[in-house]
Symmetry: D2
Subunit: 334 residues, 4 copies
């Protein structure tokens, strides 16, 4: 079968190659992949910034959707013909993340999904909402579930709350969508007025151009009557964290999300004096994914897909991620 492999770090190291087609062993299902999506983590992985000790060659990408074409001995949850997404962690079904679960993340330590066929533990796949295209469904495993876990599972967002989403990347746009359909108010930032306008159409109540308003945290306070937001979805890293803290209300929550948060340094004092909770969010379990799917299906919510590349064009998808000008998700169709 055809598969991409990271053979060395750098864009040159991502090569299309041939591999033996995997089989569905006992407890496994075999997927014929239909679509995949990229996250910033995938870019960092290729560049060697995410896992410097990556075992190579390795198949990249953590998020995909496929059709089940074979099931191994003892498989009962899933049957041939099912359309499923993989889960980001192959072995995090429910409850708290274990060490074993943490090691089971795809695409940056164990083989990912950028291949024609992928064999996975039956526990590591999940049915996806019927109204979604394969590409749209392929955006769910990492970005959507991270936003869901942050705001809903751990954040316990409720109608009338206000959240702050930073920028218009995958997680932020999902945060906007989930918050809006939960009855919360959304303030979002971007450096582009055009993107802010699109965000408004998706349900953002208030938008801030952080280029023309560099003290955006003060604008957030103004928009909330001096109170601050209930929840900040922090994806920006070092430079933004200090401002995020000032944008949160007393007793508010800041979700540290995904790998964008980077190697920041910060003053801890305001966390204490304002009784803030800072929660590190590392995607979520399959059981959380199921509750997210229920919400997506009920509202026939559509993930925002910016551009879809063909399987042969996968490197161009990485280049687009590197350019950073996208709005929502970048996908690959097999």
């Amino acid at each position: 079968m055809k598969a991409y492999e990271i053979e060395k770090f750098g864009f040159d190291g991502l090569v299309l190659t041939d591999r033996p087609q995997p089989e569905a062993k006992a407890g496994q299902v075999l997927l014929k992949m239909k679509a995949a999506s990229l996250n910033y983590r995938d870019l960092m992985t290729v560049k060697g910034q995410y896992n410097p000790r990556l075992h190579m060659p390795q198949i990249p990408l953590s998020d995909g959707v496929g059709e089940v074409v074979a099931v191994g001995e003892g498989v009962t949850r899933i049957k041939v013909g099912d359309r499923v997404a993989n889960t980001f962690f192959e072995k995090w079904v429910a409850g708290e993340l274990t060490e074993e679960g943490a090691k089971s993340a795809l695409g940056a330590g164990r083989d990912g999904v950028l291949a024609e066929y992928v064999a996975l533990d039956e526990d590591g796949v999940i049915h996806v909402p019927a109204h979604l295209s394969d590409e749209a469904a392929a955006t769910l495993p990492c970005a959507a579930l991270t936003a869901w876990a942050a705001l809903i599972t751990y954040g316990k967002l409720k109608a009338g709350d206000t959240i702050l989403a930073m920028g218009t990347g995958g997680v932020s746009i999902f945060a906007l969508q989930f918050a809006a359909l939960s009855g919360a108010r959304v303030i979002i930032t971007s450096s582009s007025d055009a993107k802010l306008e699109r965000a408004r159409q998706l349900g953002a109540s208030d938008v801030i151009n952080y280029r023309t308003t560099p003290d955006w945290e003060k604008e957030v306070l103004k928009l909330t009557g001096g109170r601050g937001v209930d929840h900040v979805v922090e994806v920006g890293g070092a430079g933004t964290f200090a401002k995020s803290i000032r944008a949160a209300r007393r007793g508010g929550t800041i979700s540290l999300i995904g790998v964008l948060a980077g190697g920041g340094e910060t003053n801890l004092m305001p966390i204490l004096m304002n009784g803030l909770t800072v929660q590190g969010i590392f995607v979520g379990s399959r059981q959380m994914f199921e509750t997210m799917n229920a919400a997506i299906a009920l509202h026939r919510m559509k993930p925002v897909v910016d551009q879809v590349f063909g399987f042969e064009e996968a490197p161009a998808a990485y280049q687009m991620m590197a350019a950073g000008a996208h709005f929502g998700k970048i996908c690959i169709r097999f």
Copy 2:
């Protein structure tokens, strides 16, 4: 001033009389009442079914809105001219309900708000959303907050969840509205197709006429693919509880609400075998009220007021409650 008093149990015992106008003592505010609303509890109180040892004469009703016309010494939260609702419990500001708080419920043990002027602790009033009429705002203290506490504060409802609301009384319609704006799916029952149609317009996804479908719990299971609902807002009492339990999903929640739940008897076994949580809900704190107001204001949500009676017609409002044919709330305008 004019005030209604319960002088003896029964409709005859509710009389319009004169009382000295109260003053705002230290820590108190004086309200000139503008509107009030009725709950089933108020009907039971007049009939002697709620608190058989009611101290009489007593001013009835727990829910009202007024204008602050005077403030006592030391009052800082509230100022003259403010439009406020009272809270159901004069002394439940936040946190867990205390014994002292429990004794401070208005209208069925201490004087309520069916009077031209009412003096209350400044902690026992709250500003109301600006877009609401006085009558609409007067529906919030008991019925709305009960639904909010059940579903949101304690129930932690999330988008994609499914709730079951029973009937179209005050609490049930608020439950429908709060669930809908939280992104949940709402199934509602009634004996009237016309009321079910109105419920659908307010956001109910599915409706069940329990007269034509007496085994409505089976219909609920059918509508949820055999799974059951996440949350039942149980207002019906003895006859409905056994069915509610069967309509709830494994691990689901049943909120026992208000006084309608009555003196029921039930089999506890399914609670255990299905890992259900049954939570008794007795209105809520002022801090919960504030979060509810934020949601109402953000969505410019309108409480459903069925009919508004003049102050002189208050007895007719009780009669309408007794007839049980209303949809939403019954109000009084001063």
Copy 3:
């Protein structure tokens, strides 16, 4: 191998027989059983009261400890030579109980552990604290975990809280022990002063003989200054529930536990008026079991084993359970 089977309901129906020894299939481990313990549910199962449609012949009992003597393909968590207990639900690893998990309870629908060898999913076993004898460890899967789930996982018991344990059966004595090592105060009831004295030695602060003090709920109120207890571990069923509700404090919790709770009928009104939470507890997940084991190991806590029967004497163990005079757990040694 030798195994007991339920061939028909009634004590006569429990027979020692021969069965082919199972093998460890893919994903499974094979246990050579060392010890087992009985729960009231096991007695009800044999008598036909628990699952009237029990598929027969069926191997009974849900709780056991064995040594792993073989592992199937793909097994990684467990290795030959490990000493493990089974989990009550073979397929409830973590998070919320699913339908699939609920069907995986042992000994009353699928074969249990009263056999020389048992093959189980590797996910369905757990290492046990080293300081425990096989018999002591065999008491953990159902009774201990039920008490732990009720008080600790769901009940969030904290130091200074007061609990009420009813009687001196398995769950109640575990509740006593877990509450005591969590810094809570324990009030316990029994009809026997001798048992109450033993309970006191295990850490109960206060004891009530419900034979000599039939209005034991009033005594509970007296012992708590009129306030009531924070948490009632309700195992008694119909007759006790009404009293339990009166023994709980405003806002308190009542855990409905195990099968003893029976087919009771009750008045729901006090649940509502006192804001009680009634939580149905149906054992717990393996992840809960792990946290319980950490507590047991840290404190070198010893489950209370009343009597140990040999494998050949298993029917006598059932008879002892039926007599109801035990204190703590009844075990079987293989």
Copy 4:
């Protein structure tokens, strides 16, 4: 009456002076102070490091115990003769901390308790456990409640958990005591073997001398089998936070406590990758104080008082705090 005042920043600025005795206004109680205790915040306040814009002259100290000698109009919770502590926040009774509540902290913005008489809102005092001396009871409002809020109210500590306490100051020793009586394992650090020995006698399971073991976070990992602790009570500030993060288990909690945490800078990445929760703790409400008192009373727990100074020697108490060699709390007897 005699009272200390901060007249300017620095030890010289703390002077004993005369003030008119306050009166109990409506809603207030008047305390004749019996004892007080110091926190590191009090030292910082005097030195101008805590609140640079302190309104002066101001009476310092946030924690004290007194006898009620008068009550104002409308006071019902408290009566003359009661022995009470003040609460750290005069206006945080329960629930979430409000802006109004946050401004009501004593001793660093509004007058504190280092005076012969203090008038406080009746909501701002609380009865203290009978078995405690006045000095011991005076240690509770800030240090004890901070440890309780961190571990118990927000941290939901359970038996079998492991915590890490840093150093042997007031909050850390309370954290040790509360964790021990909750059935948790306690690892504690200090630079003094003698203090570590005392900590062991108070219930610490494991001790680490951070002077002889500068990589103490590695020792913590070793002591926990590589897993890390469930909860770190972080009082050390910039230098320790990076190590605390490495000492915590996946999914663990780090409580940022009191003013010692200082103006640190840190890398946020591990918070995200290990799914940590960092919670800023700013003391707690009176309702939390009540649950803490229940635990202290049940266990007849004794706060650790290092040294007691006379009222006239108050400046020496500050000097002792500055020296930093104490173990537990420094108190003042009036």
